[in-house]
């Protein structure tokens, strides 16, 4: 792998994380990004906006989510005490709703009644369709055809909620291609449309704004673990596709140097380009879809195809703040293979009666890998970012289970 020459350093845009982030977009979108940036800055300090957001997060989405002590799993693994941050219990089944409510309210504030979104696993699409129903907005969701096939339940859910789901046929027909198509829509309809981006990706202000809407995960977890254990955890583990659940879980703990932050990328089914989505293991810095971050690419700067059993992690780039946390060493990024995630799904289902989303199962897999070697007084928090109901189809295709 060749080294990167000339990383951009002279940006005058806010929203840099070290050298990463920035705003690499067609000129047509800049005014809308500025508008969003200003609207968000105002909303952030507007007590009425915050009150409405908090109220919806509490009464509609179901916050705070529990921090659950997984006694049986901890016992079986024989090492660290394992806690699960139960984002899977939120309305619509994943953390994604935190950001969708926030951006939905912002769109309303900006007077934009048409919402577009991309989705991989369908969780962000479902959450967006849900918020659009709630706020009476038009909703168009772009989804790769491969993802529509493997997450067909969520496609139906979105349509049931009144959203239009548009299949995307280009590239590998997954998340990256859905984002390209959403951006093409946005650049065309930018005056009337808000792009409700679903992760800490894209041009400024998205990575910062989306992170802020998910900070509540770590904020709650920090209070909850103090209450239950009287101390901070040894480590927090979260899966990283774009990285929104992970940054939300990590952010409040960044100043606590003794707390390890562990992000888990999709190891897929091999180490060659195209067989995984592990940007920190085979990727290098580059610009994709508005931001400068780690990227799976070939020597000519063409973006690689990726693979993961989980549609939500199947993406060639990663949020720029994770790139900065990686380079500074503050967070560690490891991988879990498709098989490890499938095994972890079954194990959590059978020890705790909790069926994790395949994305979140990557975090569970890392927990299963490291917990046994840890001490009894160590504490692991796994961010269980979503529930696995959507994955029943793919699970049944991947594994033929016999009654235990």
């Amino acid at each position: 792998m060749s080294t990167v020459i000339d990383p951009p350093k002279t940006s005058t845009i806010a929203g840099r994380f070290g050298v990463y982030g920035g705003r690499y977009v067609p000129e047509t979108l800049v005014a809308a990004l500025d508008e969003l940036d200003h609207a968000y800055a105002e909303a952030k300090v507007d007590p009425a906006f915050q009150a409405r957001l908090d109220s919806l997060l509490r009464d509609y989405a179901g916050r705070p989510t529990p921090l659950y002590f997984a006694a049986r799993l901890s016992e079986e693994l024989g090492g660290a005490k394992i806690y699960l941050k139960r984002e899977d219990l939120l309305h619509t089944g994943a953390h994604k709703i935190n950001n969708c409510i926030g951006q939905g309210l912002l769109a309303e504030r900006m007077g934009k009644r048409r919402i577009i979104a991309e989705t991989g696993a369908g969780q962000h699409g479902v959450a967006t369709a849900t918020v659009c129903a709630l706020l009476s907005m038009e909703c168009v969701v772009y989804m790769g055809e491969e993802d529509m096939r493997r997450q067909e339940l969520n496609v139906y859910r979105m349509r049931l909620l009144g959203a239009e789901v548009r299949g995307v046929r280009s590239g590998s027909r997954t998340l990256k291609d859905a984002i390209n198509e959403a951006m093409r829509d946005w650049v065309t309809n930018v005056r009337t449309t808000h792009y409700l981006l679903g992760s800490v990706l894209g041009a400024h202000p998205y990575p910062t704004m989306v992170r802020d809407f998910h900070r509540v995960i770590g904020k709650e977890a920090r209070e909850q673990i103090q209450e239950k254990e009287g101390r901070l955890p040894t480590a927090i583990i979260a899966c990283v596709g774009g990285g929104s659940n992970a940054i939300g879980a990590f952010y409040e703990f960044i100043p606590d140097a003794q707390v390890r932050l562990i992000g888990v990328e999709a190891g897929g089914h091999g180490e060659k380009l195209g067989e995984h989505a592990a940007r920190f293991h085979g990727g290098s810095p580059g610009v994709l879809q508005g931001t400068y971050s780690y990227l799976l690419q070939n020597d000519n700067g063409q973006v690689s195809l990726t693979h993961s059993v989980s549609a939500g992690l199947d993406y060639a780039s990663v949020g720029p703040e994770h790139a900065a946390l990686h380079d500074s060493g503050r967070a560690e990024y490891v991988t879990a293979t498709d098989q490890a995630a499938l095994d972890a799904t079954v194990r959590l289902a059978r020890t705790e009666g909790i069926l994790p989303a395949l994305e979140s199962a990557h975090a569970v897999a890392e927990c299963i890998r490291i917990a046994p070697a840890m001490a009894r007084h160590d504490i692991l928090i796994v961010n269980l970012s979503g529930r696995g109901d959507k994955d029943i189809g793919i699970l049944s295709r991947e594994m033929s289970l016999k009654g235990a």
């Binding site: 020459i5 940006s11 309809n189 000519n300 700067g301 063409q302 973006v303």
Partner: protein, 271 residues
Amino acid sequence: MPIRFIPKPQSRPGLVAYLTVGDPDLTTTRDIALAAIDAGADVIELGVPFSDPLADGPVIQRASERALRHGTTLGDVLAIAADLRRQRPDSGLVIFSYFNPILRFGLERFCSAAEQAGVDGVLVTDMIVEEAGEYLASLERHHLAPIFLAAPTSPDERLKRIAAVSQGFVYAISRTGITGTQQSLATEAEALVSRLRRYTDLPIAVGFGISNAEHFAAVGEFADAAVIGSALVRIIEQDIERAAPQEAPSSIGRFIEGLRTGPRAPVLQVR
């Protein structure tokens, strides 16, 4: 050494022709470019194919896919540029790319190679003025004209900044949207050009959706040049579809000649 520039056309409108390099193959791209120049194109935009062309419509997406299928690289684009420069010393040559292939190649290395090849200017679709510090410095060191996009959504203060750092010409996008042909020319284009005029004496080229002689003439009423991209790429695609890619240079030549009614006027004099 002064920066090379693309001066105002002596006869309106000038023609900027976009081609995706490597579609259908490198040699044919070169021959298409030569045919375009000989038929009256003042500036050739050599498009670097990219895996994720998010500012482009389906026609250029498909051309990029075809070009990438047989491994077209930025190095190939520079080689074609050098070849064109040898054969047509007076034509305008612009590299048109997304940022990542250039970043991966190395910004400074790219600019040096582009200068060597005799390229006049560079347009990076996803490069905006706020991010352009080092980019502009590198281009300047190598006497390459930075060409930026101006959009109907760009407020005046942005147009001013865009105009201030642009050289060669300014590329005014005729409408919000992605590249591609359209039935009628957007009315937004004229308003944008007149706003831009307040801030620059550079030639203004209007692009996006210009696909026939009528549009071309209409643009000539208010702008210095028209950029034609998807319409050319579609003609090439049609020749590929009917298994006659070798016909593409003459198809493009005929199309460009047909854009100008009446006797060919002397147009956009370059360098």
